[in-house]
């Protein structure tokens, strides 16, 4: 008998009588001002967040905040005057020198500050992890209150890879001292487009 059969047989033999799943409908999270809440939480986890009125404002702020002598990439054709549009077929290793990546997330969560990105939105899976700095654009109406709402919005959508990202990478492994920028981005900036 293979290990597969042995394991499955042992599991079937040892598992007790079935118990029901709980009602997930009881979870309701509501905030008076969802955008305000998102901004407050995102700042508290070490991120920077700005409410802006359009892409021009985003461009001005990015030019002011980041070193545009270094490599800046984006998935958004509208930003190709300040950033390089990259090929989704390039090898992931070729993005090691990216200073700033600017991408757009279809969904953000107020209760924890995270944005949801599928590989389609990332351009390539490695992009939001390998860049030194990450900037994410979100539409104001794509912010939901809770993780329950987020999964309801994601629904049965198919993707090869997707991830919640809630701030710059961090570690506190050395004496619990918080250090931003462990292996991923040193900073994360979110622009909420009104």
């Amino acid at each position: 008998m293979s290990s597969r059969e042995e394991i499955l047989q042992a599991v079937l033999h040892n598992q007790p009588e079935s118990t029901p799943l709980p009602d997930m409908g009881i979870f309701k999270v509501e905030f008076e001002d969802i955008v305000q809440k998102y901004m407050e939480i995102f700042k508290s986890i070490g991120g920077e967040v700005y409410a802006v009125h359009g892409l021009d404002e985003v461009k001005t702020m990015i030019n002011k905040k980041f070193d545009n002598n270094k490599r800046v990439i984006t998935t958004l054709p509208a930003l190709n005057d300040i950033a390089e549009l990259f090929s989704p077929d390039a090898t992931p290793h070729s993005f090691d020198d990216v200073e700033l990546a600017i991408i757009k997330a279809p969904l953000a969560v107020a209760e924890n500050g995270a944005v949801w990105l599928t590989e389609e939105a990332m351009g390539q899976r490695i992009i939001p992890y390998i860049c030194q700095h990450l900037a994410v654009l979100i539409d104001e109406d794509s912010i939901v209150a809770s993780m329950h709402d987020a999964y309801a919005r994601i629904g049965a959508a198919d993707y090869g890879f997707g991830g919640f990202i809630g701030g710059p990478s961090k570690t506190a492994d050395i004496e619990q001292a918080l250090v931003l920028g462990a292996h991923g981005p040193l900073t994360m900036t979110v622009f909420i487009i009104k």
């Binding site: 499955l8 042992a10 995270a114 899976r125 991923g184």
Partner: protein, 462 residues
Amino acid sequence: MRDTGTKKHAALAEEFIQDKEKADWHDGALWWIRQKRDMQANQTPQWEELREAASAIKMNVITNLHTYLLQFEANLKKNGVKVYWAANADEHNQIVYSILKEKNITEMVKSKSMLTEECNLNEYLEERGIGVINSDLGEYIQQIDNEPPSHIVLPCIHKRKEEIGALFHIHLGTEEGLSDPTALTRVARKHLRNVFLTRRAALTGANFAVAETGEYVVCTNEGNADMGAHLAEVQICSMGLEKIVPEKKHLAVFLRLLARSATGQPITIYSSHFKKPRPGQEMHLILVDAGRSRLLGREDFRNSLKCIKCGACMNTCPVYRKGSGLSYHNTITGPIGAILAPNLDMEKHADLPFASTLCGSCSNVCPVKINIHDQLYKWRQVIVKEGYVANSKALSMKAMAFTLSSPAAYQAAGKTGRWVLNYAPFAINNKFNPWYKQRDMPGGPKESFGEWYAKNQGKKED
């Protein structure tokens, strides 16, 4: 890996508390994390309902695991992921080795995985000429010090920054005496980035695996799992059978609880959902039993399969905070480790369920409501019955049972005890009695409650 030999919990904890300043720091650092957990719990509406739901979902998984495993396997295959089943640690290690060997890969990067620690995967591969580097900063530090992680979330919480600085000086060539956490982290970032860019294979664990879709979720704060996986041509995931959740919507409950319980964050920075390999990449997933199906059959203990490895029980445990995770001589340390370990090897881990005051704080903070302190108590019964306790403990327990079941013996023992405390304290306050280590006992009362009650009975009515 440095071995703790056959030393038991009490002896290992005693070694740790020799450095009083460090032991106090350790105690305080973990208690602060417990307090951050409380702040999040108090701010999150329906926190108790979330814990109830998480516990019920996991119970449903435990009671329907056979169906969910088959569903998960079918979906993995549909997604283009290659599936393996491993009955034990050895089989798991063989599978990883064969995947790497087929591709002529001699170096692998690994993100945090307690399962592969449990399997001693690194040692197994190193003996066969394959180098493994742990990429989580805490695990990396433990690896270069040749010591196992002491905490499942905070692997080197028992080390001071000066000790880490000294390790970096030897292994990464940093300036002698450098101990600033930010400076040390930057050095590790640079070194490990080169590791990520040059490894053809990356292995991760899994926090949750969704039967409904075949995707699995890996949570990190550092981004190390993603850096490894998205750059490697071969991606391997090792997961225990119990990591299954039925549907994607159930992830909401667990992702809301996990980081809040673990470190007091609203969510881990990265919660990555891996479903299909990217073009040109291979994905392999190994389902590991290694004692889990046996635990499923132990009625009193199967609840421990609900564990989501947040570490909250460790941060709150007075015994853990004082004695550190190194004293548990098991991969999973702390209260949860003490109830998981006897299922793996009752004789070797017979001391662990006794490393507790049974105060119940662990059960109170557990996000999936495992009855940890009840199970610690129940394991003690099993271990004594199976004859795995030291003779001295078995004898004193027998003497206690006799004394407590006989009123005459109880009274005589009480009288003797009071006399000894008052007139001959040296008879018990000596180095042979561990209760007197770092403690003093008050003098004994002149009379017992029984004697006092007999004398004063009826006085109030007068």
